[in-house]
Point group: C2
Chain length 354, copies 2
């Protein structure tokens, strides 16, 4: 039975990527070797790394603008530490929009002074704070573009008087932005880019080397830039599958093409949540994420019948994050519109049966 995979990450990737990845585990580039057993310094793997880096710059429209692309390990959670280690000299400004922002703030505090410029914690992170002041004496401003757990997304980024660092783990490559407004972008691969195990870092090189801090080699962006992401053995397979996924996105027409599909999916599902009296959305309508749609049953409604319906329809991964409950439909790039239609049908069938 075909599955409709709403998993919040690791998550659905294109079927053709799974097929190419599986074939390369058996025989990579007709070398009669598995991609898992080939040296990361072989010309075939160096070519994978270079293609992945080039695709990132091309898709983000950041070619020839002074950016370096790295594929590291450790997830966004290691970037929570590496970003301040490399950039925080006297003070950093952070926007708190959820669990991941909050974890980033905690790690930055090990390195230096952190000013939280605004937080939506008091209302359960249902909205994105706006109109806050970013201090001009901060070394950088840090924000999280999309909040997987609460289903909110920054729709419009405030102008910043200082360099902008953004955790785009859960919505990079999903919508058109002027990426040149960001000085450091990082993203765990396991949403729109690839499987778990590698982390994308896109950094403006002239931002680095200014703190005067001695940085351990493994945490120093300049080390990894100098060694072209091969200071130590990279997560070869995760980078390869990311490269395949980026190729797929390019062939589809790039970010502007996928954005149209993502908008259509989000409009369809939010319309049903707003129309169907048995459901209510969690996030403030203005700040609703197109990637992670969070919703609950209306007051007094029992979910048992609905849970049976979506499971019977082949839907996977619709439960909300364990910290907030309810439902969460994660609709990353590779989720087809058809899967959203199946979910909406289950919601409508539930309404008829109630």
């Amino acid at each position: 039975m075909k599955k409709h995979n709403y998993s919040a990450g690791p998550c659905i990737l294109p079927q053709e990527v799974f097929e190419q990845a599986a074939a390369s585990v058996l025989n990579f580039n007709n070398l009669n070797l598995s991609i898992l057993e080939v040296s990361h310094r072989s010309k075939d793997i160096v070519a994978v790394m270079e293609e992945a880096q080039a695709l990132v710059l091309e898709l983000l429209n950041l070619e020839n603008k002074g950016y370096e692309v790295l594929f590291l390990q450790g997830g966004a959670s290691l970037q929570f530490l590496m970003a301040p280690y490399n950039l925080l000299k006297s003070k950093a400004a952070y926007l708190d929009t959820g669990t991941w922002s909050s974890n980033a703030i905690k790690e930055a505090k090990y390195i230096g002074n952190v000013e939280v410029v605004a937080s939506s914690k008091e209302n359960g992170y249902r909205h994105i704070p706006k109109g806050f002041n970013i201090p001009s004496d901060a070394d950088y401003f840090h924000c999280t573009s999309n909040n997987t757990i609460y289903g909110t997304q920054i729709k419009s980024f405030q102008n910043s008087p200082v360099p902008v660092v953004c955790d785009m783990s859960s919505d990079i490559f999903s919508r058109v932005l002027d990426f040149s407004k960001f000085d450091l972008i990082y993203a765990g691969a396991q949403k729109n880019m690839g499987p778990a195990g590698t982390t994308l870092v896109v950094v403006k090189k002239d931002l680095l080397g200014k703190t005067g801090r001695a940085i351990p080699a493994i945490l120093d962006y300049e080390t990894h830039i100098a060694k072209e992401s091969m200071f130590n053995t990279p997560a070869v397979f995760a980078v390869y599958v990311s490269m395949l996924t980026l190729r797929w996105l390019k062939n589809l027409g790039g970010i502007s093409a996928i954005e149209k599909i993502n908008n259509a999916k989000a409009e369809l599902l939010y319309a049903e949540i707003d129309r169907n009296p048995l459901f209510k959305g969690y996030a403030s309508p203005d700040d609703r994420s197109n990637m992670n749609v969070t919703f609950n049953l209306a007051d007094g409604v029992s979910g048992e019948v609905f849970d049976g319906l979506w499971k019977a329809a082949g839907i996977n991964g619709l439960n909300g994050h364990r910290s907030v409950g309810g439902y969460r439909a994660s609709m990353y790039n590779a989720l087809p519109l058809e899967s959203v239609q199946v979910l909406v049908e289950a919601m409508q069938t539930f309404e008829k049966k109630a």
Copy 2:
């Protein structure tokens, strides 16, 4: 044509592991989902993590001895930093046996005082220093069990008055040791355990929490222990393939069974290096590694004909590390004895043609 893969890492894994891994990229556990798109918190992936951890303790004979098993990211190179971050209070003792020891020493110096108890750098790291003094006021003693680049291996570990930390990246699971003599073992997966992208850490829990240092969450072993290696999204596929490889090793009869095969491979190749007048070994005979056999052409011998012979025989990855040159035959667990016979035949053919 069948390949004989001598790659130094990432390296050969069992063929049955490649086949199972490729099948799971298409359909994991009959879920009709790829292993790359399943949540790391799903019961199927939690079961993979738990089985991998249990197999590590079973194979190392460390069950019920106070050890915790972690699958982290960042390679041994991140452990070069994490180990001192978690353990170094006043001073650490390090043995320098090559490039990786040397890198570990550099990272530890960012954290605190390091005393290098002995080094074989002066003779090109051809031997393992012995009979050195480990200061009893050190917080721990750090060593590298096997040196991939130079082809040396610690055959007998000195008794230590302080806890022992060992980087076993390139020979873990290859030979029988009393692993309970080590307090912290770490190893990048990409030799005897799995593909690149995950790092095994086996740590005695009572060693931790003693430095008084505030440790960022992502670098704190206690964080990862409390979250059972899921503080953040682990490298799911790399852990899965490691689990498959550990299962294969267990079914083969465990470490004592593979050790016999590894000894036979090493004896065969070293005997040929010593017998054949066209070659000479690099490492001191007493300290020769059973994993990485380093050798050179005898003085005045040209390698062109030999290079043609081994390449024509389907051998891959025999060139020495770019920092030392010559040849390096990496003979990890999954390399069959037959591949060593093919190499020895090429060496003998070369002798006849010379």
